[in-house]
Symmetry: D2
Subunit: 79 residues, 4 copies
């Protein structure tokens, strides 16, 4: 069996546990913001779609919407 440096391993483990802890905090904070938004009457599913769109470049979004419409039309013509 290989020689394992417990000191290095411990350091990695602890770094990963701190990152995990921070990740859980962010998940909790996100849930709270979403619950707040829902409480104010916003639709969470639509908010997530807005976030998705804002991540894209405007021309990327237009191209995607145009292609989606092309596919939907092509299907309707076939039905």
């Amino acid at each position: 069996m290989m020689e394992v440096s417990g000191k290095k391993l411990k350091q990695y483990i602890e770094e990963l546990e701190q990152l995990e802890e921070r990740r859980f905090q962010i998940i909790e904070e996100t849930k709270e913001v979403l619950a707040d938004a829902k409480g104010e009457g916003f639709d969470i599913k639509i908010i997530k779609k807005v976030l998705q769109i804002r991540r894209m470049k405007p021309e990327q979004f237009s191209e995607q919407e145009a292609l989606l419409q092309t596919y939907i039309d092509a299907l309707l013509d076939t039905d």
Copy 2:
């Protein structure tokens, strides 16, 4: 905008919908088997571990367990 063959697109869409349908059926059947097993007193988490282990070759599992023990011991020596 590109020319789109509605006929081909429809074929792909319908194949994907049938695959999705079959996938959902399998998910449902799996839930039922797990619920049955739970009803008989089995621990689902442990059953999943058994499935994981059975997917491995025996020597692969032993190696993994040995390495895990090595890491745990190295950490204990450092604490």
Copy 3:
């Protein structure tokens, strides 16, 4: 430690392994259909959006699109 019926456990394990096997086959078939569609020039991301839309009732989709537009307009008015 509880008494465990190996026979029952084996039956559950084997049922779950068969379901898993079938699930993997479906995942493989799906990948093949998507690769085929891509080879024919279709955009997989858009195909997945079409599938999503077809899962919804038409009025559900229109409402969702209208609300999305309302949110986007509200954001634009604020910027």
Copy 4:
């Protein structure tokens, strides 16, 4: 269509984008730590198992291991 406060919506959207940004940073940092550990010869899969075990109470882990062994033995007795 409902009245939507663009100001409130914008505030939620921006909070969510900041949380998402922080989440991506953590994912990047985690990848770096794992790559470092791998570079030092550590097995990432085993490190993840160590993290899983450390999340459990010691008695919880022993119970789980004992039950796993019981299930494996029961299966072996049946084969």
